[in-house]
Symmetry: C2
Subunit: 359 residues, 2 copies
DNA sequence: TTGAAAGCGCTAACAC
DNA sequence: GTGTTAGCGCTTTCAA
């Protein structure tokens, strides 16, 4: 009651106390003491006192004045997906160290929501954007580009827009995975993906079809509607497997599809890899620990995060001339992590051959 | 080059165009037209024009002036943990609808980092805090309380601080789970937890020991150091199981411990529930889909989120007098979701007794 | 070398 | 009913 409000220290308080002007304090605080030829003695006194009272400038006032917020807006598809969660976490750490804060939101792949978020970030005057673009947000991204706000896309890109991006060579990943399955002796490899036409999804599909085409084999693709209705997706996969009993291997184009797929396979009481081999795009705790462990096409998460933040911070630091600079477009490689789910058992129940002890 | 910068519309532009004063525009925009007795005609014109040009006030200027940012800081332990991710997501949605934005960060249970984040939020002038408190941040929370910034803790609380909080009755959850295992005929139930002394962890342990005490049974508890070193944790659990071969059931106090536990059990080639039954605190995709499916003590995630945001927004709306109001402290119940991992098989290999059909 | 002062865009008390 | 104006706390130009 006695003390009303412990008022924050202001730059004016500092100046008054030290009997210098606020300009001096501000200049020192912003590391411009030298270029403004402020005496070392004064600079030292300012720094010492600021430190003593723990003065922190008011970010809001600073932002209003400078037009910079030191905030980066991060728009991902779904922050609860471990892939995005991990990338976001790494980006956040790196940005933090360099004085930037991240605010992030999920679009749930809903263009409407993506647009809202982008608008919100714009209103909040973020200094830069990191975006996992949903379909149908070309216009919003174009607007951002026109304002020359530094922006990096990742995971996928917008084909007609000259943006920076960091993506993964999913085609190569699924190509390799398909060859691996064929080499293991699986001959009816099917591909389960979403109905999305986003670049990353199309690439993953392409790798698969290319591998089969090279062997003159016909692809078998099931595209599932993206939906939050878990049961619907599981049922669809069950149905697909039942309608195509010849299938002996499955590649899922993304981690959550694989999770539904595992459930579908379990419900059909099919065994992995005996009845059907499985490979998932994207790794996940579940796949490492599942019995049997699931082979995955792993994405280089750390590298994605590092590239994204490096490109963005670089642009933030050196605002490129509007037209002269070319966008930076990075393509990273996947890694096929082979586990039990895609390994052909040596002996089959019906056909037992002579076995050797050394595998 | 021709057009320098497409300047944002300002409140002044609106006023000029409509030939009214900026005060009028501001008042109308803030819904204070009526109380300032501005004519409906003028109000309508303002609204129409604002809408037409898509004017958005500058949040930063507004914040500087009003001292309100409409941002809530959310500090969780680990945003990539599905429990926290889901709660955060729900909180975000609800807050968004009511005009608040959430900025969130993970502490990784590191008090140092928690302190940094709280400081950062403070510097950013958040209007309210939602905190999953790590140990050792009593002081920072006390500071926040002293400034009367609305704050809600969840998942655990700080025993000596009169804060709002929303927690779950973990003791009841583990108590019930333990009884369930005993009822199934498991007689050596062990409890694997962390070395944390946070309230929620202690409560979970208490429920277990209480259930055993009631049966005059001795508890068997293993406390593991919280670490990012996955292999270390798995090895510790393996060792614990090997050193105590009589154990026939395990309760893990949190979802990530369970995940490590499942790995340990798999490596020891033990079968669930034949060799050892398993129950996890917290649900997870993995547990639903694991073979066998894992019984869990599920937390009421939606209810947690709703209570947290309701309490916070309520305080934000009606700033309570400093001392008069009592903190709101909510205790929610868990739900035991019984799956295969805790069900005793009817017949045992060694001891087959007369069985009745009705259990 | 340092200080005075003009804003950044908005709100709201107060004057008319 | 509506307009004027004084800030919110900071940066930075320009004059001294």
């Amino acid at each position: 009651m006695s003390e009303k409000v412990k008022k924050r220290t202001l730059i004016l308080d500092i100046a008054n106390h030290l009997e210098v002007s606020i300009a001096t304090v501000s200049l020192v605080l912003n590391g411009k003491a030298k270029q403004s030829r402020i005496s070392d003695a004064v600079a030292q006194r300012v720094l010492a006192y600021v430190n003593e009272v723990g003065y922190k400038p008011n970010h809001i006032a600073k932002s209003l004045r400078t037009g910079k917020t030191h905030v980066i807006g991060l728009v991902v598809e779904d922050i609860s997906n471990p892939f995005f969660a991990t990338v976001a976490w790494m980006i956040e750490r790196q940005a933090f160290e360099r004085g930037y804060r991240i605010i992030y939101c999920s679009t749930d792949n809903n263009p409407e929501k993506a647009r809202e978020l982008l608008t919100m970030f714009h209103e909040r005057h973020v200094d830069g954007y990191i975006i996992v673009p949903s379909e149908g947000i070309e216009e919003e991204v174009t607007n951002i580009l026109r304002e020359h706000t530094p922006t990096v896309l990742f995971d996928r890109f917008l084909p007609n827009l000259p943006t920076n991006y960091v993506i993964v060579d999913g085609a190569q990943g699924t190509y390799q995975a398909t060859l691996h399955l064929l080499a293991q002796g699986f001959s009816r490899v099917a591909f389960v993906t979403t109905d999305s036409v986003q670049t990353q999804m199309e690439a993953r599909l392409d790798g698969y079809t290319k591998a089969l085409a090279e062997q003159a084999m016909a692809p078998k693709v099931r595209r599932l509607a993206v939906t939050k209705d878990t049961e619907k997706v599981i049922a669809d996969i069950q149905e697909f497997l039942q309608a195509n009993p010849e299938i002996d291997a499955l590649i899922f184009s993304t981690n959550y599809l694989s999770i539904y797929g595992l459930e579908a396979i379990a419900r059909l009481k099919m065994r992995i890899p005996d009845d059907v081999a499985v490979i998932s795009y994207d790794d996940h705790d579940l796949f490492r620990l599942y019995t049997p462990a699931i082979t995955v096409i792993a994405q280089p998460i750390e590298s994605i995060a590092r590239n994204v933040i490096d490109i963005l911070l670089d642009e933030l630091k050196h605002p490129h001339a509007k037209d002269t600079s070319l966008p930076q477009q990075i393509l990273l490689q996947t890694e096929l992590v082979v586990r039990q789910s895609s390994i052909r058992k040596k002996a089959k129940t019906t056909v037992v051959r002579k076995k050797t002890l050394h595998s």
